[in-house]
């Protein structure tokens, strides 16, 4: 069962007159009460929630709560595209809010499996001065974990060039060192495949066959290994 029908957005704006901000508050409140009063929402109810947030955003595009709710709730209700639609419009009206590109990045990563776009938006989010310090690390791990090691290295090198804080520089340098090692080992593994038509079972096989003198040590204290998907990764997960 859905809540009562929502007005068309143009009608909602005309009827609100100069009280569009208050109307937006009302529809956010309705959406919050609707969401909070249902344990599990079906697809129809999820759609209603998405429409309510779209309407609230349309009435007051500078109000943060519709964007916040869209990013936090809608994708889990099977509405990632609606969430993206709302959040992408939010970039124009709230360009100072890092949480909007962050939420877009997360939706692309988790729901759309589009790593390229995810990293692009996480990168945008990390450029804000009040964004969390862990974001640059997250971006580099995202690139390297999904076979884009060169992009991770290039991203971190650029970031290192712009960073003055000594503690952050130390962390970034460590991450960069680990990523360069991963890239190097991945390149060796690909050379192994060209030679033998298959990837090595273990990294030790590469040393035994003379492709590499020794496997370098992970700066994070873990051990490098080759995954079932034939990618070089570390037991430390670079943490």
């Amino acid at each position: 069962m859905t809540a009562s029908p929502l007005p068309k957005r143009e009608f909602g704006r005309l009827a609100s007159g100069e009280f569009t901000s208050l109307s937006s508050d009302y529809f956010v409140l309705r959406a919050a009460i609707f969401y909070g009063s249902h344990v599990n929402l079906d697809s129809e109810q999820g759609k209603w929630l998405g429409d309510a947030l779209k309407l609230a955003r349309y009435l007051d595009p500078y109000y943060a709560e519709p964007y916040w709710m869209a990013g936090a709730v809608l994708p889990w209700l099977g509405q990632p595209d609606t969430a993206l639609d709302i959040l992408l419009k939010g970039e124009k009206y709230k360009p100072e809010d890092w949480k909007i590109p962050f939420n877009i990045g997360f939706i692309y990563y988790y729901f759309k499996q589009d790593i390229q776009k995810a990293a692009e938006y996480f990168q945008k989010a990390s450029s804000f001065s009040d964004s969390p310090a862990y974001l640059p690390m997250l971006i580099s791990r995202l690139y390297s974990k999904h076979g884009r090691g060169n992009m991770a290295v290039a991203f971190l090198q650029r970031l290192l060039g712009d960073t003055k804080d000594p503690l952050l520089r130390k962390k970034l340098s460590k991450r960069l060192k680990a990523l360069k090692m991963l890239n190097y080992l991945q390149t060796i593994a690909q050379d192994f495949k060209k030679e033998y038509g298959r990837y090595p079972e273990t990294l030790d096989e590469m040393t035994q066959r003379g492709f590499v003198k020794e496997i370098p040590r992970d700066p994070y204290g873990g051990e490098f290994y080759i995954t079932d998907e034939n990618r070089v990764w570390s037991t430390s997960k670079l943490r």
Binding site: D25, L29, A32
Partner: protein, 269 residues
């Protein structure tokens, strides 16, 4: 000027004696005081909702006085024939119109200033005691500017009410005409946006023409609405603010002169 002032004072006291006015004033003042408590019903940035309720409440108070009280007081003079008592004195009809406007505007301004002071106190209290992790910065200066524009907006609506009252046969007609012009004035920019969107492609040219005429002749009241600007701490240049202020003032003056001109020629039975 002295005659206009005397009329203004008389109108002011007449308005103060209206029980409905006092009732609405007390209600709105109470609403402003509890705006922060009401905002707790919402989620997230409750201070934003507090500001919306406060500024919205002030807007409604101003509208009540400008729309309802203005048309009623003007109509009462004509219905009870008290206008003759004024006009048989050496007071021109133009002075009568201006005197009425000043009195109504002063009544509106006094109520709104009282409300605004309460709103600021309530907002200060709720922002100081807020439990938000990252409370938003409140642009106090912009709230004052938005309030001044709200006053101007209400003076404009009062001028519209006085204009229609100068020729309407009864208070109800002038009330509805004022309400219609106010509603259209609030939505001129909204309709313009709709006509420029995909929906506008299906609208007939004649309707677009009618809208264009309305856009250029009727007062664009939304230009004086700076509530969102203050709440979201947005940017507007001093030049832009000045232009909007001049726009509002121009319309008020034009409407009053038109009203004075029409009323001067009106046959009073």
């Amino acid at each position: 000027m002295a005659k206009i002032w005397t009329l203004a004072v008389m109108t002011f006291y007449e308005g103060m004696r209206e029980r409905v006015f006092l009732g609405v004033l007390v209600f709105i003042l109470f609403l402003l005081l509890i705006s922060g408590i009401l905002a707790q019903l919402s989620i997230g940035n409750t201070l934003k909702v507090t500001q919306d309720i406060g500024l919205g409440g002030l807007n409604i108070l101003g509208l009540f006085i400008a729309l309802f009280l203005s048309t009623q007081l003007m109509a009462k003079d004509l219905d009870k024939k008290t206008v003759y008592l004024v006009l048989c004195r050496p007071v021109s009809r133009g002075q009568y119109i201006f005197g009425k406007f000043v009195g109504l505007a002063f009544l509106n301004a006094l109520a709104l200033v009282a409300g605004f002071v309460l709103f600021l106190l309530a907002l200060f209290f709720f922002s100081a005691t807020s439990d938000l992790i990252n409370p938003p910065v409140i642009a106090w200066g912009k709230h004052i500017v938005a309030f001044l524009f709200l006053l101007l907006q209400m003076f404009l609506v009062t001028a519209i009410a006085v204009f229609f009252s100068s020729f309407a046969s009864n208070g109800l007609i002038s009330f509805f005409f004022t309400l219609i012009v106010y509603f259209i004035g609030c939505n001129l920019n909204n309709v313009k946006l709709i006509l420029e969107s995909k929906i506008g492609e299906n609208i007939s040219p004649s309707l677009k023409g009618i809208f264009s005429f309305a856009y250029w002749t009727l007062p664009n009241i939304s230009l004086l609405d700076l509530k969102s600007w203050a709440v979201h701490d947005m940017t507007l240049s001093v030049a832009e603010l000045g232009l909007r202020f001049a726009y509002g003032t121009f319309f008020i003056a034009a409407l009053l002169f038109l009203a004075a001109s029409i009323f001067s020629r009106r046959e009073l039975s």
